[in-house]
């Protein structure tokens, strides 16, 4: 590409600036136009344009604000994933809006601005500001809607979220105390005197960021919030913001705390084991579809942070490469399989969606049932879906890193999880007990089909290993 876009900080912020302007424009438009189709179209088009602007970035590294804002292919990959997840949910989101579409979509675009900034940030202050932008935006998004359930979910999310924010600030200041910088650079050694404050910073930041990823013991808000909000919003909360939280955790704990590998390893080993086991066992006995999906996404977060265990255990270069590749692969597949599953739950026209409510849908709409079935198989990690290949690289990383006990615990968990994912498939093909009217309109059916198609098509991403493995070093500042 000859057209270079990041010669100055202003140019590198073009996508964010563009999205922000569109968002303000939407608010102005809101007085005259009230049709949700217009706003959905505008936000989809502007997200696509920002994607193109991102792709025009120079592929080499460039850093601004003294290393706080680094543009490289690794961040670019995640920025594109995050925009993809927004695109994926926006179609359904628009159709479910009863009022004020301009407010919903402008907030939605602001959240996207914050997400793109966070994807390129390597500085705790930058990450904090972007993170707050996302949090405040998602509080509003989850409260959107007139029913009390939405408000209740949003209130729970808000009150716990602000506490987590406080932890991030406190953790960042302790980080500054011990390293003298907010930049997540590789601090090679920590003097003995600074070790306690660094440990404190690690714990505090873990509480702050782990909250968004819903790691045990910070998970309970997620179940209530996903259950209470509208389906597209819960799809967005569980896919887009989750992938972002994962990226931030990767950056903060693998780059920022690279001097304390052992502590990071112990912390995340325990957390990953507890998180995936808790998520799976809680999901096993859950009859509410959305709560079950919420528990399953807690379990999936547990698998995701196994990557941190591999990298922080001083594994070989190969294990490191495969681990980060697994993280990137899993994040992309996760958006479609998890987001698609939450969107699919909108087929049931009820406030509380039970798994048994899906019975009979297999006979009414085989396409829907097969698509949801494929996403369930992908979440369970059954070949030939992309969910399997993502897990394949994850467990390859664990084995290559000699962490056999984590591999065994993880893979047993994924075998147990098969039980509740398949329960949904079984229920869908069960004859309906009562006549039920499903919402199989296009805004639900099409994203579900796309999700299923992507859950299979992304298997071919294994072809991309040579390319993607060349950009994994972009996790930090280097290369």
């Amino acid at each position: 590409m000859t057209f270079v876009l990041n010669s100055s900080i202003l140019e590198s912020l073009y996508p964010e600036i563009f999205l922000g302007l569109v968002a303000f424009g939407m608010l102005l438009m809101g007085r005259r136009v009230k049709d949700w189709v217009v706003y959905t179209a505008v936000s989809i088009i502007s997200l696509l344009i920002s994607m193109i602007l991102l792709l025009l970035f120079d592929s080499s590294n460039s850093s601004f604000f003294g290393g706080a804002f680094v543009i490289n292919n690794f961040g670019l990959y995640f920025a594109l994933i995050l925009i993809t997840s927004s695109l994926y949910v926006s179609f359904t989101a628009g159709s479910e809006l009863k009022h004020d579409p301009e407010i919903f979509f402008s907030i939605f675009l602001f959240v996207n601005v914050a997400m793109i900034i966070a994807a390129f940030s390597l500085n705790l202050i930058f990450i904090f500001i972007a993170f707050e932008g996302i949090s405040i935006g998602t509080y509003i998004l989850s409260a959107h809607g007139k029913s009390k359930r939405n408000l209740e979910a949003s209130a729970k999310y808000f009150f716990t979220g602000v506490i987590a924010t406080g932890f991030i600030v406190l953790g960042s200041s302790f980080y500054f105390l011990s390293t003298g910088t907010f930049n997540l650079v590789s601090v090679t050694s920590i003097s003995l005197i600074n070790k306690p404050s660094m440990l404190l910073a690690m714990i505090l930041l873990f509480v702050g960021f782990g909250f968004k990823l819903a790691l045990v013991p910070l998970q309970q808000w997620a179940v209530d919030a996903y259950d209470g909000t509208k389906n597209p919003v819960s799809a967005f909360l569980s896919s887009g913001t989750k992938v972002l939280a994962f990226l931030v955790i990767l950056r903060v704990f693998l780059v920022g705390f690279s001097s304390m590998n052992t502590d990071v390893f112990y912390l995340f080993t325990i957390v990953s084991i507890v998180t995936m086991t808790y998520g799976n066992f809680a999901a096993l006995s859950e009859n509410n579809l959305k709560r079950m999906l919420a528990y399953s996404s807690i379990a999936q977060a547990g698998y995701l942070i196994l990557v941190l265990d591999v990298v922080s255990s001083n594994a070989s270069h190969f294990a490191f490469t495969v681990a980060i590749f697994a993280a990137m692969y899993y994040s992309l597949v996760y958006i479609f399989m998890k987001g698609g599953a939450f969107i699919a739950s909108g087929a049931v026209r009820e406030d509380k969606i039970m798994i048994n409510d899906l019975s009979g849908i297999g006979l009414k709409s085989p396409v829907f049932a097969i698509s949801l079935g494929i996403m369930m198989l992908a979440l369970a990690g059954i070949p030939p879906t992309a969910g399997f290949f993502a897990k394949y690289y994850l467990f390859l990383a664990l084995i290559s890193g000699n962490l056999w006990y984590l591999a065994v615990i993880g893979i047993l968990n994924s075998a147990i999880s098969v039980f509740y994912y398949l329960k949904i498939i079984v229920v869908m093909f069960r004859p309906a007990t009562e006549e039920r009217d499903f919402n199989l309109s296009r805004p639900i059916l099409i994203p579900v089909i796309i999700g299923a198609a992507m859950s299979i098509a992304l298997s071919f991403l294994i072809y991309g290993y040579p390319y993607i493995s060349s950009i994994v070093a972009g996790l930090g500042v280097g290369v």
Binding site: L377, P384, W404, I425, Y463
Partner: protein, 495 residues
């Protein structure tokens, strides 16, 4: 190359079956018959002068840096099992005529065949695993959608059990893969011929970290024993077999049950030198225990379908025994043991196909398969009874039929390998014979149960299928060299 074309044809056929709206049964039956004929021609052409090794191999690289290639090939073991698969799938689809199955049913059946075909021709571990798992999905759906009243519990149990087995298979594959890469200068491969190399495992894993060899072996054994199934990992079997509709039961007992045995002889046999003597004893113990335990359990089943399900599991015990024998005995005896075990997979599949196909006809006419209320079938249905009797006799190992060849060679090699303990094997065979004869006595002979009403005998088309299966069993019994030859060459080539 030719076999790859048949495989592609199978995929196309499966797609046609699931899309075509009319004449679903006719299409599926013709498709599976074409595949059967093509496979038979391929086997006759390519395996007449087979002397071991892999024939018609081909390889398409996907990702060289991490060793993923779509490589295929056929050897003496897989050609026998591919033939078994195609026969069983044809028989299962053919018998499914009378029920009101829709096109999804036949499509799923064809996809099961795709998975099995792919598994048997894969020479790359990733695709081996992908097909290994991909087979479970259509079978699970077949049970979950078309099974009887307990289908949901049975299908979930089937899936979760086999899934827990397969994930350990994945970990074992990853272990071999990762050690191969780190000891060969970061040159990675997933080719089975490279990874299943005892010299590599001994030199690069066992000598460095013995734990990882045990870890890998445990994963392989666990996955294959669940699939076999062996005691104590068998509890999915009676539920799945009995709650599945009969055509699916035929597939389960004939074709799906070959997977465990195939794993033993395709994956574990090449690395037999790594497997310790104590492990071999343990496997033999499991085999003998399975044989006796399942035979005793079968004896007390009032439901003939469930009884034959346990009988199927019992005769899988012979495969474990033969595998252990082959490791313990060494020399020429181990050839007999391994080849006998492989022959047992083949014979067991065909025999169970015949047994369940004729039992299906009995069920259709008498309305139940309980051997308490079905009796004296000879009077009204001599043909069906004759074929059921033939299947039962083959299952208990009557000389002249296929089951005898494998059981004879396994017992013979057991004598060399485990000595006096062979009486345990014989004891199991005696129990097997006793309840087989007993079920014949109950259902076929004795006074006719008048509550069943007037029963019709088999139609011409049904007799055609049953005699097709029976002739195969007979041919395999009196001219075993047809398959025993290639199998023996394969075993000699590997060890």
């Amino acid at each position: 190359m030719f076999v790859l074309l048949i495989f592609l044809l199978t995929i196309i056929f499966a797609a046609i079956s699931i899309l075509l709206k009319k004449k679903a049964w006719e299409t599926a039956a013709v498709e599976s018959f074409i595949i059967l004929v093509l496979t038979a021609i391929y086997g006759l052409v390519d395996f007449r002068a087979y002397t071991g090794g892999i024939v018609s191999s081909s390889s398409y690289p996907i990702d060289r840096s991490i060793g993923i290639t779509f490589s295929t090939g056929v050897d003496g073991l897989s050609i026998a099992l591919i033939f078994l698969t195609t026969v069983i799938m044809f028989a299962a689809i053919y018998t499914a005529k009378n029920e009101k199955f829709d096109r999804r049913f036949y499509g799923l059946m064809m996809f099961t065949e795709v998975g099995l075909y792919g598994l048997l021709i894969s020479r790359n571990f990733l695709f081996f695993y992908v097909f290994w798992e991909a087979i479970i999905i259509p079978v699970f759906l077949l049970i979950a959608i078309y099974g009887d009243s307990r289908k949901e519990k049975a299908s979930l149990k089937f899936f979760v059990y086999t899934q827990i087995g397969s994930v350990f298979l994945l970990l074992s594959i990853l272990t071999l893969f990762s050690y191969y890469g780190s000891s060969h200068g970061n040159v990675f491969t997933l080719n089975m011929s490279n990874l299943l190399n005892p010299a590599f495992i001994t030199k690069d894993i066992t000598d460095k970290v013995p734990f990882w060899t045990d870890f890998a072996l445990f994963g392989f054994f666990f996955a294959f024993l669940v699939k076999m199934p062996s005691f104590p990992l068998h509890s999915w079997l009676p539920d799945a077999y009995t709650s599945a509709p009969y055509p699916v039961t035929i597939v389960l007992s004939g074709a799906i049950s070959l997977m465990g045995g195939y794993g033993f002889f395709a994956v574990l046999m090449p690395i037999a030198p790594v497997i310790g003597v104590s492990t071999a004893w343990f496997i033999i113990g499991l085999g003998i225990f399975s044989l006796i335990y399942f035979a005793l359990t079968a004896m007390f089943q009032p439901n003939t379908k469930k009884m034959m399900a346990y009988a199927s599991a019992a005769s899988m015990g012979f495969i474990s025994i033969s595998f252990g024998d082959g490791i313990l005995a060494g020399g020429a005896v181990s050839y007999t043991a391994f080849a006998g075990g492989i022959y047992q997979i083949l014979a067991h599949g065909l025999i169970m196909g015949l047994v369940f196909a004729s039992l299906y006809l009995i069920k259709q006419r008498a309305g139940t398969e309980s051997n308490l209320s079905v009796s004296g079938l000879w009077r009204d249905m001599p043909y069906i009874s004759a074929f059921f009797l033939a299947g039962i006799m083959a299952s208990l190992g009557l000389p002249g039929l296929a089951g005898f060849i494998s059981e004879a060679s396994i017992v013979l090699s057991s004598y060399y390998a485990i000595g006096a303990l062979i009486f345990m094997v014989i004891f199991g065979m005696i129990i097997t014979a006793s309840y087989h004869i007993w079920v014949v006595q109950k259902t076929l002979n004795g006074p006719f149960n008048e509550n069943m009403g007037k029963l019709k005998d088999a139609k011409g088309s049904e007799i055609l299928l049953l005699s097709f299966l029976f002739v195969l069993i007979l041919v395999l019994g009196i001219y075993p060299n047809l398959f025993f030859g290639p199998i023996l060459s394969f075993v000699k080539g590997v060890i």
